[in-house]
């Protein structure tokens, strides 16, 4: 069974005909060729596939593409605006919040959504917010610092 879907991805309208079982992450990576969104555990634990669905961070490996029909999806490629990195992206580079970088796209999406809703999150609130995004390199310390740094930049 095929479905015609229209999804606004990083601000641009995209239309496609997709199979019922196509996962949102595969739609993003393979149909749209936006490979910044990663696939890790593929079982909704690790969070590397995090995208924003109508502004909320969700795991795109655990959603069907057809469920995003009529919705807006933001991926890591959409964070940069007019050639300028998002303050969270800048803060991640300045505070060394990544080593291998595999978790970074998902981490950035979760953290940017957190800062939309909470302008000055505490360390505890940041750690809670990213508890569904696993990082095996940094021990989270520099990620927390980066989010606090980004909050200052955005103030």
């Amino acid at each position: 069974m095929k479905h015609k879907i229209s999804v606004t991805v990083n601000g641009a309208a995209r239309e496609a005909e997709v199979e019922s079982r196509l996962l949102l992450v595969h739609f993003i990576r393979e149909n749209l060729r936006l490979t910044g969104t990663h696939i890790g555990c593929d079982t909704s634990h690790c969070g590397v596939c995090t995208v924003l669905l109508d502004g909320q961070p969700v795991k795109s490996c655990t959603l069907l593409a057809v469920q995003a029909d009529g919705c807006s999806v933001s991926t890591v490629e959409g964070l940069e605006q007019g050639g300028k990195l998002h303050p969270v992206q800048e803060a991640f580079t300045e505070k060394h919040a990544l080593q291998c970088g595999f978790c970074t796209p998902g981490m950035l999406m979760t953290c940017s959504a957190l800062l939309e809703r909470n302008k000055k999150p505490s360390e505890e609130e940041i750690r809670q917010a990213i508890s569904g995004n696993l990082c095996r390199c940094t021990g989270y310390l520099n990620i927390v610092k980066a989010v606090q740094h980004a909050a200052e930049k955005m103030a």
């Binding site: 479905h3 019922s20 634990h45 795991k59 809670q128």
Partner: protein
Amino acid sequence: MIPAPFDYHRPGTLDEAIGLLARYGDQAKVLAGGMSLLPTLKLRLGSYAHLVDINRIPGLEYVKEEKGWLRIGAGTRQSALERSELVKTKYPLLADAIPLIADPLVRNRGTIGGNIANGDPANDWPAIVIALGAELVAKGRGGERTIPASRFYKGLFVTDLKADEILTEVRIPAPAGQSGGAYRKLKRKTGDYAVVAVAVQLALGKGGAVERAGVALTNVGPTPTDAVAAAKFLTGKTLDEKTIAEASKLAAAAGSPSGDRRGSSEYKREMTRVLAGRALKAALERAGRT
């Protein structure tokens, strides 16, 4: 991982959804938040020819107090409940439990109705609604009916819902007089299911004796466990260290955990006893404050 092929339906009304469930019977499955269903399909632990997506049906997402009940629409996301001031201020058992369910991203999609109707004894809401003495509202071709949460679970992944019925609302008795609840959960890491968890709700009468007690357990048997003997023992008593210790033992005895990678059955039984004691103490303390 890619699920086996299925047909996807997106009804715009509840009646339309019920019609689809009636037409396809056990070949159909309701897709709510999908946080358990999608992994099940991807891992091919189960497959259905038809998914009925209820996410676009209006009127299933709400939290309100009305006529002595907290009424929660079955499609309400866990994260919406987590942020609800009403829940945070008046329902300590829920305020304890919701932030411990899965992780924040999963809670952005996962619904209360899905967590309950999935029939998984490892899910947290089943024990919560049993301890609270909640009622579940289901709608099918035959109309609407109300099922006490304590009678909803029939077996592993088997509930009282008929093939054409959809869970539409959860009704929790609003706290009256001196009452308090608590949820204590042991888990290895964020996102994991409970090793064990205990839900307690207490209502105290004049003089501080227990008027009503609800004690229920997560993940210690094929269904969520209603620790009836513990609740019965507590009723009418004024609680102290000794009675709490005795009730905790009775709660632990109600479970029938099997050993797995989360621990041996002996360990889980002992942890049930410990967590029951902690939940009872917290619930009592909170009831005393109201």
